[in-house]
């Protein structure tokens, strides 16, 4: 008579070989390598994206008549790529033959260094981007006239008593420097926020994995 599936199940597991638990090993090793490799892939994609943007922005800004914005932006993105490439080279030197914990700790240290440098750069980067944008808009030509000059002339005509600093109305200079100041002040935080948007998920996983391993070492 044919055995029922319930009987096959019960009798099959009476034999000991069916239920041998595998040893818990190598799990963290694999996870550590996976997490770093994933980060490397994302970091590389990010760099490619920045370079592509640096290349595209020059013709794009030329077409839109904002070349004074395009060139400084392209230079900035090239500089950012250069710094990121230097960090990437450092990342490749982390020794995979270390223990999982040491490997991940080295990676964690690299991430912290990268974030610290990125935050410092952001203090300058965001005001720089703002200035480049202002420059870009300022020199846009409308019917043969420069937009910035039209703006100054308009203000002077409207408010003839306005105070000028080196030919620029104080009306424009105060908000300009205020925005620069705010961006410089919050630049570091914006930079961290930016990194968190892109790499937040993977960095959280790294944190959990490291804390698991630290508990294991206790």
């Amino acid at each position: 008579m044919e055995k029922s599936i319930e009987r096959i199940w019960k009798e099959g597991f009476i034999k000991n070989d069916a239920l041998v638990a595998p040893k818990l090993n190598n799990l963290y090793n694999q996870k550590s390598i996976d997490i770093v490799e994933k980060f490397k892939r994302m970091y590389k994609l990010n760099r490619i994206g920045i370079v592509a943007f640096a290349i595209i922005i020059i013709p794009l800004s030329y077409i839109t008549g904002m070349i004074y914005m395009g060139i400084p932006m392209a230079l900035l993105f090239i500089a950012v790529t250069f710094v990121a490439q230097k960090f990437s080279n450092q990342l490749d030197t982390i020794d995979k033959n270390k223990s999982s914990y040491e490997y991940l700790s080295s990676f964690d240290k690299w991430v912290k260094d990268m974030i610290a440098v990125n935050s410092k750069l952001s203090t300058f980067m965001y005001p720089y981007i703002f200035m480049a944008m202002v420059l870009g808009f300022w020199f846009i030509e409308i019917e043969g006239k420069i937009l910035g000059n039209m703006l100054i002339n308009g203000i002077i005509t409207e408010f003839p008593t306005t105070y000028l600093v080196n030919g620029f109305p104080i009306f424009l200079l105060i908000p300009f420097f205020l925005v620069i100041g705010i961006l410089a002040f919050f630049g570091g935080r914006i930079g961290k926020w930016d990194i968190n948007i892109v790499y937040g998920g993977i960095l959280n996983k790294l944190k959990i994995l490291l804390s698991d391993m630290e508990e294991l070492r206790k």
């Binding site: 319930e6 199940w9 009798e11 069916a18 239920l19 698991d212």
Partner: protein, 160 residues
């Protein structure tokens, strides 16, 4: 994960995890990965265990969830990567139990959908309909009908 926790809280229930992980994997390598991941998740989630169910029931639930997640990830990876591997239905389990009937039953179970695999495993482990419904997250009536259908399907596969 401390070895104490593994020895006292997981190892006595290893049979449950093994049975479930074998039903969701085709190779020993995958099986070991799934098993380790389940153990890790049990350890990580241990503080979330509220004693509203038995520890073993909780382990069933967690094991199934981990296996389903892993399987989904694996499928996504397969879809994203060009593969010259054989399709699923041609893959043969590289492992074998000494009991041939059990091997055939496992092969048949692996041909079921992910959820049906979970349902039949719990049924074979003599869980009540209520417990199965709780673990899977459906109602009891549905479970009874489903089990009958799955058993018929398994019989058909086995007789082929």
């Amino acid at each position: 994960m401390s070895s104490d926790f593994y020895t006292t809280q997981i190892l006595p229930y290893a049979a449950i995890i093994i049975k479930i992980c074998r039903a969701y994997t085709d190779t020993q390598e995958d099986f070991e990965d799934y098993y380790q991941e389940v153990c890790l998740q049990i350890w990580r989630s241990k503080d979330n265990f509220k004693e509203q169910s038995a520890w073993s029931t909780w382990i069933y639930r967690l094991s199934l969830n981990v296996c389903l997640t892993f399987l989904k990830k694996k499928k996504n990876n397969k879809q994203n990567a060009p593969s010259d591997l054989l399709p699923d239905e041609v893959l043969v389990d590289s492992r074998a139990f000494s009991d041939e009937s059990l091997n055939q039953l496992y092969d048949a179970i692996r041909k079921l959908s992910e959820i049906d695999r979970g349902v039949i495993l719990l049924y074979l482990e003599e869980k009540s309909y209520q417990e199965i419904a709780d673990i899977i997250g459906t109602n009891t009536n549905n479970i009874g009908v489903r089990i009958t259908r799955i058993k018929e399907r398994l019989k058909k596969i086995l007789s082929n």
